[in-house]
Amino acid sequence: MNKSSPGGGPQAALGKLSMAGAVVAVAVGAALVLGLALLLKALGAHPFTLKASTSSSTGGQTVAHLTISAYPDSMAGEHGKSGGAHPDWVSYGPTTNLWVPAHALVKMTIKNYDSATALNSPFFGNVQGTVGGVAYYNGKPLKRINPNDVAHTFTIHMFPTAGQPPLDVSVPLLGVADNAPNAPGSQYPKPTVVTFEFHTGASGRYIWQCFDPCGGTSYYAGFGGPMQNLGYMAGTVTVGGGAVA
């Protein structure tokens, strides 16, 4: 092994460039990449995170209140009145990123303006993970609803990252009648309202998603399109800590 030309010809040699120039080039390159990352972070931030309002109960436990809605299209949520890229996709609103406090009792209300699509799996017709195992449908406590009457589900389903406490909540939403007229002054019919409560543990970050095949018949078994995209039928739940986009 040698570094010199065995052919006896000219060396591959070799201009001498400044090492300081090389170091500066690397530093500038690193700064540009970091700057781009921060720019993308700023530009790509989710429109906003809905933060639960909090109060304290008599026992001193934090109580949080959160209200969201489910719509038959994308024109009332975070995608704006035009509906964004997919105005005809079903969506939750006003946003799908939610924040609730840690070690709290969360009182959640979901208004549903969409009609029913029968569940593929009746399992998701059950109310799970809530206080008492019930949810209140237009004020009536139920542990499950007919799988054929489900419009959407609100299911915190992702296995928590190791170190996070489990948070398993699933509540089906009752669909409005197929032929229900729009409410006066509204583009949607009168909603069904479901309320329920659940407890949060320590801080963590979770994914929630609808498990009703509401993604439209042109998509894979109803589980495509809005079902596969955050901001429509899926989002995040951040427990405690800062609100995360």
Partner: protein, 638 residues
């Protein structure tokens, strides 16, 4: 020094009295000046037309964007002058004179010829080199962003859909960059000279191939502004049927890119088949030529399948066909077959020229003839042929056809035999050679090290039982980076350092080159060894968040990646600064015997004043009986 042959004096041209072209004509400027307005007009006209059909707003936007992209592409190509000659021919205008052809080839064009529709193969080669480096930089920045996101668990940097788009853009940019990285710059610049030709067989098509690729780049980079695409580079349907408008940018990019590769491949194969100098028999062809032909021919067969996959996807997305939609009788498996019929052979479209670079350079730096020339050629042709019947190993876990898994496992493993022949030739050439440890030579050795790791880990993915376990994990990601980057890109970097003196006329800085080599090797192996580890532990690929147990491996992998990033900046710095301040390169700094080193640096416009007559093989180093060579009795310059 004994060259493969020797050549006559450099070609010179009579400085012509006619005025040079206006440099803005047939240039990037005129291309943009036509392309951008046409895209805008196309968008609004289409929008108006589709609006009359009462389509929903999303469909209107989708259709309009696709037509706008097509408008940009055609407009840019018209503006850059790609269609000038066909139009003149159609209008029965006079044939261009030799002077016209020289002007088109960049004669008197100065540095501006690199920004024009220029037919000289050396200009096209350098255009491809710069384009490849820019694409590597763009894909590399995306890689840095990815590793920044996953340096810790918790998806803290970007929203998940932004992360998904970055993943997809990194994937496709790097695939395109690696496909063109050797056949673009080196085949274009070097092969015509290597075989004793004055240019490629179809110089206009050669320029067209580059500008078709150039046309695709802004389209692809526009994807994030239209919602990106959350599919990764595989763009599996039906997810790609549903994702945002950015998916159209992906599909249109592939349409232009495949057209570019087809045009280039026809050109390479025709050039080598028909324009070899007298005496340049098939068994005297430098091995880079074999690799370029095999890669081009393979690309010609398989790349249209990629085009078809995206064309059908575009039809699904725009006019509502159902090629990939189950509820309309379509099948996502159709997409997967079309995609992987290209997708796996494409690995060999990338790797065959890399093999060839390694085999081309090893004799130079060991001062030995290539061991087993015909065996090596057989290996290259064998890999090229077998690669077309292995694609379904990517679909073992899809449930497509369990019965077919066995045969596809067999064909996939068979390909290790011709690959082994290439390695045999490489190691045989190294055996007892007098290794000259230049920077290119260091990269050749790193190729052998890395590609063996990529190849051995590939066996586990070719075997059905282990693939079922490893599919979709970061083990797969580490494996293909070891083959495409550890193998392919290291060969590319060997080629960059080797041919840089001929292409630029300057020597690179050796000390900086060695630092760049070692940082690249250490960074690369740290990055992907750690990735193998977390992959074996079960971490899925393409996911921006992960469980805490993978944290250490990902941290190490990210640090390695940042070292690679720094190394690539050193390469850029070395190449740019050496072009300005490096030592003037002699015509043949490596004492190599192939023809490109026998012509002056910079290479004259028509390469040779007289076509050489070849009387010896390209690797006759240290043989006792040096073959005779004949100078300057070939075809005189036109």
């Amino acid at each position: 020094m004994t060259a493969q042959t020797s050549v006559g004096r450099p070609a010179h041209h009579d400085p012509n009295e006619t005025k040079p072209d206006n440099p803005l004509k047939r240039s990037i400027v005129s291309g943009i000046a036509v392309g951008v307005p046409l895209a805008i007009i196309a968008y609004f006209v289409t929008s108006g037309l589709v609006h009359t059909t009462n389509a929903d707003p999303a469909t209107i936007r989708n259709d309009s964007l696709v037509i706008a992209y097509l408008g940009w592409g055609l407009g840019f190509l018209f503006g850059v002058g790609a269609f000038n000659r066909p139009i003149q021919w159609a209008l029965s205008r006079n044939e261009p004179t030799h002077q016209d052809e020289l002007e088109l080839a960049g004669h008197r064009g100065g540095a501006w010829r690199y920004f024009r529709f220029t037919t000289d193969h050396k200009v096209v080669g350098i255009q491809y080199l710069v384009m490849g480096m820019v694409l590597f930089a763009a894909g590399g920045v995306a890689a840095m962003l990815i590793r920044l996101e996953v340096i810790q668990p918790g998806a803290k940097m970007f929203p998940i859909q932004t992360y998904n788009t970055i993943i997809g853009m990194h994937g496709l940019i790097m695939i395109v960059a690696t496909i063109i990285m050797i056949t673009g710059p080196f085949t274009n610049f070097v092969v015509p000279i290597m075989i004793g030709a004055r240019d490629m067989a179809f110089p206009r098509l050669n320029a067209l191939s580059f500008w078709l690729l150039f046309t695709a780049v802004p389209i692809f980079l526009s994807a994030p502004f239209f919602g990106g695409f959350q599919t990764g580079w595989t763009a599996y349907a039906p997810l790609s049927d549903q994702t945002a408008l950015g998916m159209d940018a992906y599909s249109l990019t592939i349409l232009f890119f495949v057209a570019s590769t087809a045009v280039a491949a026809v050109n390479v194969v025709t050039t080598v088949a028909t324009m070899r100098a007298p005496g340049m028999s098939w068994t005297r062809l430098p091995i880079l030529t074999w690799g370029s032909v095999a890669s081009s021919a393979l690309g010609l067969v398989v790349m249209p399948s990629f085009l078809a996959s995206q064309y059908l996807l575009m039809l699904d997305r725009t006019i509502g066909t159902g090629f990939y939609k189950g509820d309309r009788g379509g099948s996502q498996w159709l997409y997967e077959h079309l995609f992987w019929f290209m997708g796996h052979p494409e690995v060999y479209v990338i790797v065959l020229p890399a093999f060839a670079v390694v085999l081309e350079l090893l004799p130079v730096f060991t001062r030995k003839p290539l061991f087993g020339y015909r065996t090596a050629v057989g290996g290259i042709v064998g890999v090229s042929s077998l690669s077309m019947i292995v694609w379904a190993h990517h679909m073992f876990v899809t449930g497509w056809s369990p019965t077919a898994s066995g045969p596809f496992m067999l064909t996939t493993e068979l390909i290790s035999i011709p690959t082994g022949l290439v390695f045999l030739a490489s190691v045989g050439t190294l055996w007892r050679g007098k290794a000259w440890m230049t920077v290119p030579m260091l990269y050749l050795i790193s190729f052998l090290w890395n590609f063996v790791i990529g190849g051995v880990t590939g066996i586990y993915l070719a075997d059905v039982p282990t693939d079922v376990q490893l599919h979709g994990s970061l083990f797969v990601t580490a494996h293909f980076h070891y083959t495409l980057m550890g193998g392919g890109m290291m060969a590319f970097l060997a080629g960059v350092y080797y041919w840089y003196p001929k292409m630029s006329g300057r020597m690179y800085d050796d000390r900086l080159g060695r630092i760049q080599f070692w940082t690249m090797q250490i960074g690369f192996n740290v990055t992907y060894m750690a990735m193998f580890y977390v992959g074996l532990q079960g971490e899925p690929r393409r996911v921006g968040d992960y469980a805490a147990k993978f944290a250490v491996g990902n941290f190490i992998s990210s640090i390695g990646a940042f070292v690679i990033g720094a190394s690539m900046i050193l390469l850029w710095y070395n190449l740019i600064a050496s072009k300005r301040r490096g030592a003037i390169a002699p015509a043949n700094p490596w004492n190599a015997k192939t023809l490109e080193w026998q012509v002056p640096t910079p290479v004259p416009l028509e390469n040779f004043e007289e076509i050489p007559i070849v009387t010896a093989g390209p690797y006759e180093y240290g043989t006792p009986a040096e073959p005779a060579h004949i100078a300057g009795e070939g075809v005189p310059s036109t």
